[in-house]
Symmetry: C2
Subunit: 214 residues, 2 copies
DNA sequence: CAACTAAACGTACGACCGTTCGTGCTTTTG
DNA sequence: CAAAAGCACGAACGGTCGTACGTTTAGTTG
């Protein structure tokens, strides 16, 4: 009676297609980090990967669907590189610290050659209504929620230790998550522009910002 | 003996050209704030303004020179709207406060329809070496220097009032200017994405950030 | 007045864009 | 084994891009 769960298909045609789509989308994320999602072109991706333009076009159908696939590929890559390792640490201050450290690694040894994918593409699409903007906004929301959850947990833990005197209560989780992310994005821009002080400067800012809960 | 200073020409042909270049570049800044400098097209600007494509092309010669003119037009508009009014206040905390207030006005009642011109275009060009990137980077540097100078002055003034006990000495001017700008840019993104809490949230952050010198 | 300059235009060029169509080829399905 | 499905391709389409050339018109300069 129960409908079979969405099983992983063994159809080698579909597997081949999925593999190709992933390769193309992942490379598209690299390109888009440097030149923007709107600057992406099907022909460019095809020649980069030694494929035919029409082959790439058929796999995605539409440029917008290609862009959506690229956005999703970027998300997966970021989760693998930064988020998943941090989930090994206990929720709260420790996981938050792991996320921050992970982000520094992400910025120092760029996962995408053009730097942060979202710092590059949110400004590109934040004034263009449509599915791509919606997807990017949703991903940003997930990231901010992830940060805010860890901050909230860390604040609660700190309050337990010193119920009445802690300054941690001053930290609004949602506000601090936004604040943290803004500093990250600004750091990415400074790095892109060749500012050698970008990383140590940001370390100081963030240490100060999170001092009440660490 | 002294070479005549660069007099303002009265040649009406040149005046006409300069006027046309300004009109086009200023409109280009509006377009670029929403769709990016790289998305700008000569034909688009021409039809927007009821001109011929070749006319626009001849006035600027090259797309890159058009982009540089647009960047300069954006700068002038921003100086008129935000910087110059603040210069009426005395250097230091007062001028800094005026700059912050001016920026809130700039964000609340957008000078450019796509939001902050630099928040939109620095990420677009920060990975593309060339004159346009250089110009944008230089403008960002001027802005950060302007902020840092006011912070430094405010810190010095505060230190005079309470030579030994002030917490204002903790504020590194350069670092705080970067910090302030990062929050501005993050706020612009949040506004663009329709976050209704963006402005009050940022007001809280900045009040807190500048508390030691106000 | 004649020579010159700059703005503005129409036209045309080659390059690239996204998309569509028709065609092989491999793999799965009935 | 035949039919269907999905990937990959070459070719071609209409459209836009940046740029270049030649011409006309308005304004300046000798």
């Amino acid at each position: 009676m129960s409908p079979s769960p969405p099983r992983a298909t063994t159809d080698q045609r579909l597997l081949r297609g999925a593999r190709a789509r992933w390769t193309i989308a992942r490379h598209g994320a690299d390109v888009a980090s440097a030149e923007g999602l709107s600057g992406l072109s099907i022909g460019r991706l095809a020649t980069d990967l030694g494929l035919s333009k029409s082959g790439v076009a058929t796999l995605f159908g539409t440029k917008e669907q290609l862009q959506l696939a690229v956005v999703e590929a970027a998300r997966k890559a970021y989760v693998d590189a930064v988020v998943r390792p941090a989930l090994a640490h206990p929720a709260g201050a420790a996981r938050l610290r792991a996320l921050v450290d992970g982000w520094f690694g992400y910025a120092e040894q760029p996962l995408f050659p053009g730097g942060c994918f979202w710092a590059a593409n949110l400004p590109d699409f934040d004034s263009r209504p449509g599915p791509v903007r919606d997807a990017l906004r949703a991903q940003r929301g997930e990231w901010l929620t992830l940060l805010a959850d860890q901050i909230r947990r860390a604040v609660d833990d700190t309050a337990d230790d010193a119920p009445t005197t802690g300054a941690a209560g001053e930290l609004d989780p949602e506000l601090t998550a936004f604040h943290l992310d803004a500093v990250f994005v600004g750091t990415n821009t400074a790095l892109r522009l060749g500012d050698p002080n970008a990383l140590p400067r940001t370390r100081r800012i963030i240490e100060n910002l999170l001092a009440p809960i660490t």
